[in-house]
C-alpha cells in the first residue's frame, strides 16, 4: 500500500547511526556519544515508567477481583475494601461454583457446536467468494458483511417470534442457532481474506486436472485452512461465551449460559455478596482467559480480521 512513496527511498540499506530503528538497536548504542546515550537511557526510563504505570492501572480490577474473592464475610467492611484478606477463605469460590457450574456446563455445550458450525459455513463461503468467483460476488459479500454490523436490537422482536414459531426450544438450542447465523458474516470475512492470499495457480491447477468445485475445496483448500480455522474457532468461541444480549432474550436462569447466571448472581441477591460474585466472575472468565493466554497469537489474528482491512 506504500509502494509509491517507498520507491523514492535512495538507499534502504544506508545506516543512520543516530536512529534506533529496527531490531538491531543494541549494537547501534556503541556508536553513540556519552551525551546521546544519556538521553537514550533517560527516554527509555520514561517509557518504562509510563508502561509500568499503565500496567498497574489495567491490573487494578484484577487485584480487586482476586482479593475480594478470598475474603470472608468479616472482611466486608468498606474500610478494608482495598486491604488483603485478614483470613483467606475458599468459601466464595465454593459458593460461586455451586451457583454457576450448571450454567458453565451449558455454555460449553453451546459454544462448541456454535463455533464449529459457523466456522465451517464461513470457510465454504470464503472459498466461493474469494476463489470460485461469479458475477457480483463482491456485492454478495458486502450484503453478507452488513449482517455483522446491524444492532441485533433491530431484529430482536421478530426474531423472538420466529424462533418461537420454528419450535426451537428456549435456551441452548436457540442460542446455538443464533450464534451460528449471526456468526456467518465475520467467519466469512476472515476466511475470504485468508483465501485471497492463496495463489490462484493452486486452484487453477486443480481445475485443469478436472476437479470440480467441491473436490477443489475438499482436497486443496481445506488442508491449508488450519490457521484460519484456529482464528475463527477462537473468535467464535470467545464471542459466544461472552454473549449476554441473546442470552437475556432467549434463555432463563434455568437454561441459560454462564453470562446470564453470573449477572443474576451479581444482581439478584438482596444483600450484595461481592465475594461470591467476584469469584463467579473469575470462574466465568477462566475459559476465555486460558484461550487468550495459550493461543493469544491467534486471538490477535481474529481481532485484526475484525477490523475488516484483513
Amino acid at each position: 500500500m506504500t509502494t509509491a512513496t517507498a520507491g523514492a527511498v535512495p538507499e534502504p540499506q544506508a545506516t543512520v547511526p543516530s536512529t534506533p530503528t529496527g531490531t538491531s538497536g543494541r549494537s547501534v548504542d556503541l556508536r553513540r556519544t556519552p551525551a546521546q546515550q544519556g538521553r537514550f537511557t533517560m527516554a527509555r526510563t520514561l517509557r518504562y515508567a509510563a508502561l509500568l504505570l499503565f500496567l498497574v492501572v489495567v491490573l487494578i480490577p484484577v487485584y480487586v477481583l482476586l482479593v475480594t474473592s478470598f475474603k470472608g464475610t468479616g472482611d466486608a467492611t468498606p474500610a478494608r475494601a482495598w486491604s488483603l484478606p485478614q483470613l483467606w477463605t475458599l468459601e466464595n469460590w465454593q459458593g460461586a461454583w455451586t451457583a454457576l457450574s450448571p450454567a458453565i456446563l451449558r455454555s460449553v455445550q453451546m459454544v462448541i457446536p456454535a463455533a464449529i458450525i459457523s466456522a465451517f459455513l464461513g470457510s465454504l463461503n470464503g472459498f466461493v467468494l474469494a476463489r470460485w468467483r461469479f458475477r457480483n460476488a463482491d456485492l454478495v459479500f458486502t450484503l453478507i458483511l452488513f449482517g455483522m454490523f446491524i444492532p441485533y436490537q433491530a431484529v430482536m422482536i421478530p426474531l423472538t417470534q420466529l424462533v418461537l414459531g420454528l419450535g426451537i426450544p428456549s435456551g441452548i438450542p436457540s442460542l446455538i442457532l443464533l450464534h451460528v447465523v449471526y456468526g456467518i458474516p465475520i467467519t466469512t470475512l476472515i476466511f475470504r481474506n485468508y483465501y485471497m492470499t492463496v495463489p490462484h495457480e493452486l486452484i487453477e491447477a486443480a481445475r485443469v486436472d478436472g476437479a470440480g468445485m467441491l473436490r477443489t475445496y475438499w482436497s486443496v483448500v481445506l488442508p491449508i485452512s488450519v490457521p484460519s480455522f484456529v482464528v475463527v474457532l477462537i473468535w467464535q468461541f470467545t464471542s459466544a461465551w461472552n454473549d449476554f444480549l441473546f442470552a437475556v432474550f432467549f434463555s432463563s436462569s434455568q437454561n441459560g449460559p454462564v453470562t446470564l447466571a453470573l449477572n443474576n448472581l451479581a444482581n439478584g441477591a438482596l444483600l450484595q455478596d461481592y465475594g461470591v460474585s467476584m469469584a463467579g466472575a473469575l470462574f466465568a472468565s477462566l475459559p476465555t482467559l486460558v484461550v487468550y493466554i495459550l493461543l493469544g497469537r491467534y486471538f490477535i489474528g481474529g481481532l485484526m480480521s475484525g477490523s475488516v482491512k484483513g
Binding site: 506504500t2 446491524i150 467476584m278
Partner: protein, 300 residues
C-alpha cells in the same frame, strides 16, 4: 443462459445455506421489525396476537423522539460514545506509540493491556460495579475509597448515579476493555510502515513532529478509521455493561438498547421495535458509507 447457470450455479448452491439464513435473519427480520414498529402493538394481548394491532405509521417514532425520556437516552448515547471513543483512541494510540520502538518486555505489556478484551462485559461489570460504588466518606468503597487512601479525596464522586454525566462513568470500564484492542490495531499500523520511509524523512531533515505529522499519521489514518468505526459501532449497541453495573430501569444510565429491552419486557412490542429501528438507522448512517468505501477500494 444455460452456460451462466452452469458457471454460477455450483458456487451459489454452496453459498445457499448462508444466503438464506442471512437473508431471512438479517434482511427479512429488519423488514418484519419495521412492520411491527408502525403498529399500535403496545399490550401483551396484542403481542401474543389475541387482539389485533392497527397501523399507525410513524406515530411511535414521533412520540418516542418527542418524549423527554427517550431524548435522555439519545443524549446518554452521544455522551457515552464520545467518552468511549476519545478514551480508547487516546489510550490505544499512546500505548502503541510507546511500544512501537523495540523495548524489552514488550510482549508482557502488550498482553496485559490486551487481556481485558477476552473478558465478558458481564464479568468485568461485576468488579466495576464495585469500583464505581457511589458511597463517599466513611461508607466509601471502590475507587472512592482508593482516592481517599492516596489523598485524592476531591476526586470522589457519585459515578453512574449522576443524572447528566452518570453514563460517562459506564464508559470507563468500556475504555478499560477496548483500549488494548485499539493499541493492537495501531501497533500493526506502525509496524506496517516501512523503516525506509522514516529514514528517508529523517534524511530530509524532518524532526520527530514533522515525521509524525507528514509521514506516519497519513499512513495510520486507514487504521484509525477502522478503529473509530469498530469502537463507535460497539458503543451504539452498549447494553451488557449497563445491565450489569446499574439496573436496566435506571434512568441515569439508560440508552436506546436498554429502552428496547425494557419495552420488550413490558410487552410493548411496537415501541421496542421502533427503538431497534432507530438504532439501526443510526448505525447504518455510519456503516453503509464505510462499507461502500471498502467495496470501492477493493475494486481498485
Amino acid at each position: 443462459m444455460l452456460k451462466t447457470l452452469r458457471r454460477a450455479g455450483p458456487p451459489l448452491l454452496l453459498l445457499a445455506p448462508s444466503l438464506i439464513l442471512v437473508g431471512v435473519f438479517v434482511y427479512g427480520l429488519i423488514v418484519a421489525n419495521f412492520q411491527t414498529s408502525i403498529t399500535d402493538n403496545h399490550t401483551a394481548a396484542q403481542a401474543t396476537g389475541r387482539e389485533p394491532s392497527v397501523l399507525v405509521w410513524f406515530r411511535n417514532y414521533t412520540d418516542l423522539l418527542a418524549s423527554q425520556a427517550f431524548q435522555h437516552s439519545l443524549t446518554n448515547l452521544v455522551l457515552y460514545t464520545l467518552v468511549f471513543l476519545v478514551g480508547t483512541m487516546l489510550m490505544g494510540f499512546l500505548w502503541a506509540w510507546i511500544l512501537d520502538k523495540p523495548i524489552r518486555g514488550e510482549g508482557i505489556f502488550r498482553s496485559v493491556y490486551l487481556f481485558p478484551m477476552a473478558v465478558s462485559f458481564i464479568a468485568s461489570g461485576v468488579v466495576w460495579r464495585w469500583l464505581l460504588n457511589s458511597n463517599q466518606g466513611e461508607q466509601a468503597s471502590g475507587l472512592n475509597r482508593l482516592f481517599q487512601n492516596v489523598g485524592l479525596d476531591f476526586l470522589q464522586n457519585n459515578w453512574w448515579n449522576n443524572v447528566t454525566f452518570g453514563i460517562t462513568a459506564i464508559a470507563l470500564p468500556a475504555i478499560w476493555q477496548l483500549s488494548g484492542y485499539v493499541m493492537a490495531l495501531f501497533l500493526a499500523g506502525f509496524r506496517g510502515i516501512p523503516d525506509e520511509l522514516r529514514e528517508a524523512a529523517r534524511m530530509d531533515g524532518a524532526n520527530e513532529w514533522k515525521l509524525y505529522r507528514h509521514v506516519l499519521f497519513p499512513q495510520l489514518s486507514p487504521i484509525a478509521l477502522s478503529a473509530l468505526i469498530i469502537i463507535g459501532h460497539m458503543s451504539l449497541k452498549a447494553f451488557d455493561l449497563i445491565m450489569s453495573i446499574s439496573k436496566p430501569a435506571n434512568y441515569q444510565t439508560k440508552v436506546p438498547a436498554v429502552d428496547m429491552y425494557v419495552f420488550k419486557s413490558s410487552f410493548d412490542y411496537a415501541n421496542s421495535a421502533a427503538v431497534g429501528a432507530i438504532l439501526l438507522i443510526i448505525v447504518a448512517v455510519v456503516i453503509v458509507p464505510y462499507l461502500m468505501h471498502l467495496h470501492r477500494q477493493e475494486k481498485q
